[in-house]
Symmetry: C5
Subunit: 353 residues, 5 copies
């Protein structure tokens, strides 16, 4: 929480008008790739000089410009100027703390959301801001750092598999968005596994570590919900209102919308599960305390009366007739054993043993 917010704080007092990258990925190199296609043609190139992209804006073919790394602000600014991107749009691209949203502009639609995944060690969730700008014939995608998540889409365009080459830029946007949302399932899967493991552990032995783990899971989940919840209405808005989405593509976006709802429901579910794991923990602790108390009570309740009896015959009165009887010692042992057995029966009946 804190480091991210610190970044956001770097923005305070800054007038709008200065683009600053607020993310935490220190990737210096910005890689720009451009794919241009139509049903018949296909070309792909690495862009080193941003001006090379400019002619594609008004070409009839579909153009996809992908930008990995948000540190070369001047490049992004030039691109923005040429493609007529609003200043605040660029600010939103660079502000990696932004809630997912869709913003409709005169000649393009802007969509920003989070890409979620599991870290390589499998123990944490990594989050990256991805933004898309959809124009008449082009899509620009911004990623915080290089990844291979869109490679399958690239592959299919390159090979002309399916109908992607036959559709417009809005279908490309759908495919990219769908890829990002599909990845969310990995994260819900991760939560399913983690909460199940946690529940089993808490049921077996409720320890302080479990408690800390529950807290961590809660926070992760809360971070996640921040990423997924606003996306729901954003995708709905995209499907319903964007003028750059053709009718033919809307059912596909509707499909993405349902996936987002599904992921969202699943988050809510995990929230409930975490709450009941907390309940389990609390009652587990109570049960442990109960068990401790039972042991103490059984031992004390058996031996305190016996000790009392022993104490009585340890008194030094001159006139204690029992002390002089021949079998009284054995009689006392018998009495004590009787009490012992009686107590055991009592505890058995009380279901404490």
């Amino acid at each position: 929480m804190s480091p991210k917010s610190n970044k956001a704080l770097g923005k305070i007092g800054q007038p709008p008008g200065t683009l600053i990258y607020l993310g935490k990925h220190e990737q210096k190199s910005t890689r720009i790739s451009l794919i241009d296609y139509s049903p018949e043609e296909f070309s792909e190139q690495e862009i080193t000089n941003i001006e090379d992209c400019f002619p594609y804006k008004d070409k009839n073919t579909v153009t996809w410009i992908n930008i990995d790394g948000l540190n070369q602000i001047d490049t992004i600014e030039k691109l923005g100027n040429h493609f007529n991107l609003h200043y605040l749009l660029l600010e939103d691209v660079l502000n990696t703390e932004h809630r997912p949203k869709v913003e409709e502009y005169d000649d393009h639609t802007f969509l920003t959301l989070k890409m979620l995944g599991i870290s390589e060690d499998g123990n944490s969730i990594v989050s990256e801001q991805v933004s898309f700008v959809l124009g008449e014939n082009w899509v620009i995608s911004f990623q915080e750092f290089q990844g291979d998540i869109f490679n399958k889409v690239r592959e299919r365009i390159r090979e002309g598999i399916g109908n992607i080459r036959k559709m417009g830029s809005d279908y490309l946007l759908y495919r990219l968005l769908d890829t990002v949302v599909d990845n969310y399932y990995l994260v819900t899967e991760y939560f399913s596994d983690s909460t199940q493991a946690l529940e089993e552990q808490v049921l077996k032995n409720p320890e302080k570590e479990s408690l800390v783990e529950i807290q961590h899971m809660k926070k992760k989940l809360s971070d996640l919900r921040k990423a997924v919840r606003p996306l729901r209405e954003a995708v709905l808005q995209l499907e319903k209102e964007s003028k750059f989405i053709k009718n033919k593509t809307r059912p596909y976006l509707r499909d993405v919308y349902e996936h987002v709802i599904h992921v969202n429901d699943s988050m809510e579910n995990h929230r409930d599960i975490l709450a009941s794991i907390m309940d389990l923990y609390m009652s587990g602790v109570s049960n442990k305390m109960n068990e401790v108390m039972k042991v103490l009570t059984i031992i004390a309740t058996i031996f305190i009366p016996l000790t009392f009896i022993a104490g009585v015959y340890g008194m030094n009165f001159e006139h204690m007739p029992e002390l002089h009887w021949k079998y009284s010692y054995y009689g006392i042992w018998g009495l004590m054993i009787l009490i012992f057995i009686g107590m055991l029966f009592y505890f058995k009946k009380k279901d404490w043993l």
Copy 2:
């Protein structure tokens, strides 16, 4: 949760365009049956060659094609092509993880929901995805595996009982939907019985097993709510908006809608009941601890002072006049018995005995 999700994960990265069955029923054989009827005519046949269904699409009579088993994807695809079903619709039929929903297409309406029942051993809830496509004169129903739930409807069509033969395909859809929703009552019944048994058990003796059982019930209920809650608005949407539902049939759908609400209310009720069973459990554990503490306290509070007295007269001082008195031993016994009785009275007064 986890196995299902794993299936869903099988879909990640897959481009739309490849139909994959995501359910867990490994039933290889797909059984297709076709019923065709009008007020006057009736025919029924097992279909082995899917093309045999095709002519019925444009016949004036009502045709019901029922498909049990979703593994023969090519058959489903062929059917889909002939009946002009959207690619995403077929995907939803095969994705058994889908939330219940209604989708309106140009020349048909799609409805997917869960069929719920009690497993044969009576201990768990079984869930199956059922999908319906309603066209002008036909209904196609998809079930994950073979069952006899629709047999009564078949019977009534076959025998011409009631007005089902006189009504259109929309009324047939209503009858199928009504059958599925009626079955939900079995599940709420199951919950009524289970929660009542659980409550009695927890009241009698709150044990760890009860706690685990509460957790299981909660999860089942949560799974169920996922199946029933979205159905509410789906049925409402069907009744209000679908152009394939005739006005005459709408009141019947309204009736189904009310059943769904009823089931839903009942779920919410069970949720509350489970929460209060959890409360009962927690306070039952507290009560047990209280009882244990009382036993310990009574024993310790009675015998610790008595043991002290015995200890005093076990001291070895030379000058302890009481030791030499003739009746002091009996006096001490009297004192101890007095203290014992006094303590019992005290506990009686405190209501601890």
Copy 3:
């Protein structure tokens, strides 16, 4: 819960088209009474042959047909046919599990709700389904079993008291509905008294019985809310939308609506009260445990050190000079009394005594 649902289960698999009474009142005889009035005329009769009612349908006077007992299904069916009641309407009349609702038909309005009262022994709430059908000039009321709740309304029609004879059938419906809703106050009253008694008992002595009682109250309340909550929107719908309600009657229905809201608010209030009685119970149990622990701690903390001292001088070492001093026995008693008093002061200061 369970017995009711069992009845509902009797309906599963039954095709719509078979009227079955689903209530639990085994009252075999159905009593039908008919009141017909206009400002000038008044007639009242017991109907044994249902056909006797039929002519009244098209008479200009206001006709009220009251049916007590829902077991003579064929009678109800005949009546329904003549008065043109929809098949599903009759089903709703007979399904006593139904949520309160208003349904608008072409030539009548249907209203079903629960009549609530206190059982004769004053310990439980009795619930009965009442349904009304309002036509242009007539009202049909269905009750599950005979009761005298509507007698006052009958009296006033008979005697021509107030303006009831001057108004139409909609005003009659209002009067009947108002009578039912007024009875709800008896139930909220019952809850006020019960929760207050329960709270006092829990404050005095939190016992397991109180806990069970809280659970019972919660369930009763939950059943009640199911009866009252949907009525709110039903009455509102009746007032706003029904075409059989004249403008002159609407303010009266608005008044009923406000009573329903009032009852509803009162239910919510009792829900909160029950929740805080549960809190009281829980903290009462904690307090009791605290008290037990204090007694144990006081006794143990005073006598364990004293017993230790006695133990020390019960040791058998040869060389223990104190044993031989003349006043050491008295000195030890003094020391022990000092410790005893000191401990008492300590507990006093800690506020434990």
Copy 4:
């Protein structure tokens, strides 16, 4: 709760058409005062004969009729008849259990709400029903019993301070309403003080009395919310919809609306505070128990081992060499003191001392 409801019960079964005062104030005398003013004129009089008010209805000047005490039902009825007040309106005036609401009639607007204040001993909240009827040129106000709350308004009209004499009857209503709502701040103030005192007390020493007090506060707050919450929409409705409110007065009503929201927010806030005081109480009880347990544990853990050692050397075996050593008694004392000190260190380390 109970006494109020009993009153409401007095109404059950009563047909609409009989006005009954349902409040609890037994004030027999009804005082009626009339103020009539225009920018130029002013007259004020006590009314003993209700007919004296009637001519003012159609006068052009603004007339304010204030009625203190609702027991002279015939007077109220006469007034109602002359001013054309609906029967249900009068019923609402007399039913002091009514939720605050605004009702729009053809030639007047009706507003009923609660006047809240602190009782003279400063320990409880007093509530009184106040109703206003706003006509073209007149306001009628009904109070349950005599009070001086409106005196300042009277004063300002009498003296012609401010612009009240220049405005119409709607502005007068605003001024009266504003006076009532301003008084609510006294009550929120009372809650601020009470909850703060309660919190301090619970933090210092959580006792059963605090628990009872928390319950009482909760109930008071719940009663209050019933008075304030519906007022919010009532005032909004008055401002937005009433045809007797002139545009010039609307901003003032908007202002009142904001005050009501403010009071409402403050109530919600106190609700949260009470909930967290309950939490404080619960954890305070836990802390006390903890402290008791620590004392017990420290004493028992120190002295039980020491007593054991003393017990060992109190054994009467013939062959116990230590008994005969010269310094073993002192050695044992040393050992016991070592154990004692060691234990103290251990508890210090554990932070129990």
Copy 5:
């Protein structure tokens, strides 16, 4: 809470028509500064005579009048009269208890909100009421006391940096509003840090101080939410409805709106975090109690049986053969050591050590 409300109480009974400053800042001097600019011109001056501002109202240039300190009520009243500010608007400016809101007037828009910051010692949050009035060509800002928060905006106007000089008064309002909202991030940052520190402390050692701290944080957060929550709809209303906001400026306000939502989400998040810190505290206390109980149980369970054995051989029976055996003393020691070790193993197995 209390001191603020006391101020508000100062207003009760006061007729509208008397302006009173209700804030707590006793800053007597009111400082008025005026900035007037157009793309070409710029002038800045301290105003001592309020009439000096008046000519700027109708100038074509953008004029910003900033008023620090709200104690010179007559000055504010004169300004209000000249700029045609509604009486209630001025009252809202002076009532520092007001919820944030936007009010649309005929020739200006009014916006009031809270400025939040961290106190100089870094331990508390300071809140100040700021109000803006936006006219065609002018902005008037009211602050409770002098601060330098708007200095950066002043600087940019003065130096002509960015496009602020080229835009109208609505853009100036946006810049001021944006500055205030940006400051909110400082406060969320403060909460992030505080809750994190608190959580760590509670995890390490749950003490009563932590509990008090949690309560304090809750209250602060609750105060904050009161400042931020209503702002959300206020800014939305400003963006959507105000006629003084030009289309060009709307996207900027939309941006502010998103910041407010972000801050709001962050508050909700901290609320959840505080709730789970409370949970941590409660279970921390339970854990501590558990630990105490374990120590007691271990010591008592080991030594009570041993003491019993010692007690047995401290009895004074004449006929106790063991007493006379040569090695029985050593045998008893062996037995006791065996029991001791056995117990330790038992506790090890139970995981209590």
